[in-house]
Point group: C2
Chain length 349, copies 2
């Protein structure tokens, strides 16, 4: 099998032109004659030439590479998987290729992968930071002028662009909706209390309670890992309270699903005996039973927007930090017991 690399010089020799001409053909330059171009292209196909982007990059070190990095903190969470898919869509169609790494919430690993990506010369980075990431971690990246777009989580003090969803408004709307349905004891379940996102959502929760003249009671705020298992644990604690809540807004959809699981284990019917609202609107939210009422964030869309923002910055040379807060909207389905929908559904059976 062909072991030696076929280079542009081999092509040139075989086609009877100079390497410069071959290079021009590769760049689809209008300078080269049609017949020459055809001949060169034929030889390229024939010899099975593959372009060496590394060498090209080296020469045009002023220009940027066609690689973007994406680093997420938990790829097993489908929210981030969707996010990555969204990013992939737009970078791929812009002719870029994506380095993806998963940090599993480990800041050390995050440092490593970012360093590795730098060595490979990424043109930009989309980052969903691991818990405990500090502004200092991004300093060297910023200094070398590589655009960074932060998603989902913000890093205090870092001068990078960010794209986060409107956490406060999302939870606020959810709580108002529940209050509107007549609930007085509404819990806030799940999430790590030491994160900025948690703080923002909790703020929305408190704000809505105040708006609706409901008492904010601390025992109704129950943190947990932001996962399905965490949701089970949280609802367990909530149901053990002397005065049980009748509804809950959850930190995210994974927690909400866990809460539904936990309710069933107690012979409670989510949506019927207890209202549940999630956050994120992951794909499963609409097909689950009961379909999950949730704050829609559209992770794929977010990925696409992040990628677009990043590409814009890459093309613009150096762009100044831009903070976009993505609007968010409550999608009412069955899990909050917003009756009409459910009754219709039952009537159908």
């Amino acid at each position: 099998m062909g072991k030696e690399r076929v280079t542009v010089i081999d092509i040139a020799r075989a086609a009877g032109v100079s390497k410069s001409t071959v290079s021009l053909v590769l760049q689809a330059s209008p300078l080269v004659n049609e017949v020459t171009r055809a001949k060169v292209n034929a030889v390229i196909r024939e010899l099975g030439y593959v372009y060496n982007r590394g060498a090209a990059n080296l020469r045009q070190s002023n220009a940027k590479s066609k690689i973007v990095g994406i680093v997420v903190n938990d790829l097993t969470n489908s929210f981030f998987a969707e996010l990555a898919v969204g990013v992939d869509m737009v970078v791929q169609s812009a002719g870029y290729v994506q380095f993806l790494a998963n940090t599993a919430e480990n800041p050390d690993r995050q440092r490593e992968v970012i360093a590795s990506m730098r060595e490979h010369g990424i043109a930009g980075l989309i980052l969903s930071p691991a818990r405990g990431t500090e502004a200092a971690d991004l300093k060297p990246l910023m200094a070398s002028g590589i655009p960074v777009v932060n998603v989902v989580r913000q890093i205090a003090g870092a001068k990078v662009s960010s794209l986060i969803s409107d956490n406060r408004a999302g939870i606020r709307d959810a709580v108002r909706h529940l209050a509107g349905l007549g609930h007085h004891r509404i819990a806030f379940l799940g999430g790590f209390p030491d994160t900025a996102v948690f703080a923002e959502r909790l703020e929305g929760y408190r704000e809505a309670l105040a708006d609706m003249d409901l008492a904010a009671r601390n025992e109704l705020v129950i943190g947990s890992a932001p996962s399905r298992a965490g949701g089970v644990a949280a609802i367990e604690r909530a149901l053990a309270l002397s005065e049980r809540p009748t509804a809950a807004v959850c930190f995210n959809d994974a927690v909400a699903f866990g809460v539904c699981d936990g309710l069933r284990a107690h012979r409670l019917d989510p949506g019927e005996d207890f209202a549940v609202i999630g956050f994120d609107d992951v794909i499963e939210a609409q097909t689950a039973v009961p379909a999950l009422t949730t704050v829609s964030v559209d992770p794929q869309g977010m990925g696409r927007r992040a990628a677009q923002l990043l590409l814009k910055q890459i093309n613009a040379g150096r762009a100044d930090a831009e903070a976009i807060v993505g609007s968010v909207r409550l999608v009412v389905r069955q899990s909050c017991g917003a009756a009409s929908d459910k009754r219709e559904r039952l009537a159908l059976l």
Copy 2:
């Protein structure tokens, strides 16, 4: 901000040594004197030097790069997300970095991303092929001596290593288990009938039925998209049969979850009124309610094994195609109604 690239020559000048020495330091060569090494390292830190792997790769074009590609057909399916996480774990700790691309089952896109990865000089590729991938698509890759490991799906006629799970045995065991519980009408639900994986699983289904002296009835085999929504559709059709099945083995866990959803919509309690078994053992399988009985494949583990196999081949120069079929094991939980477990659980409440 520092715009110009800091090169090994800059380091050399600042440290008062030659670029060759700096290079040796970078490679942690034992040839260089301790005090020189320290000085050089200090300067490297001070000037914020970042290694240019592209240039290095170019020079040692005999050696391979430190990039592996991973191409999956559906990253939104958590099975593949987990797989990618598994791959990432081992390649990261081997000092590699992973290019990840999602083809969304589109063979054209798959061709593009593979071409792009080649241009970037990947050392190897892990591929979960899009539906309709042909052996010819991999020909050029193979010809250039880049190791490829196929996962999940096999490609007829391609001489590449593959790592697939024992589809036949998995479903066979599942069906036997159901038959052992006294079920006579067992359905096979979900999956695209034109895929090799489907064929293998169906074979296991038929084999088990024959073993247990049960009739194989065609109307009990119902294909669908291998997704949660597909599962809902499939169980819908199954319940419309004049003679309903009482149990189902599903193409994968996503389908199984959909089947549970569909059952609930009909006021049937999965695990109680109808037995359901999945395939894959995705993370949610154990925390779902009812916990899903499923054929365990451990996607992360599979990713790790695939990555190890690939790295082995990369290091070995060129390895010959190896076909590993991963063993598989039935994990009995609640959704198949294998009583004991469930009764205990109820007693606890």
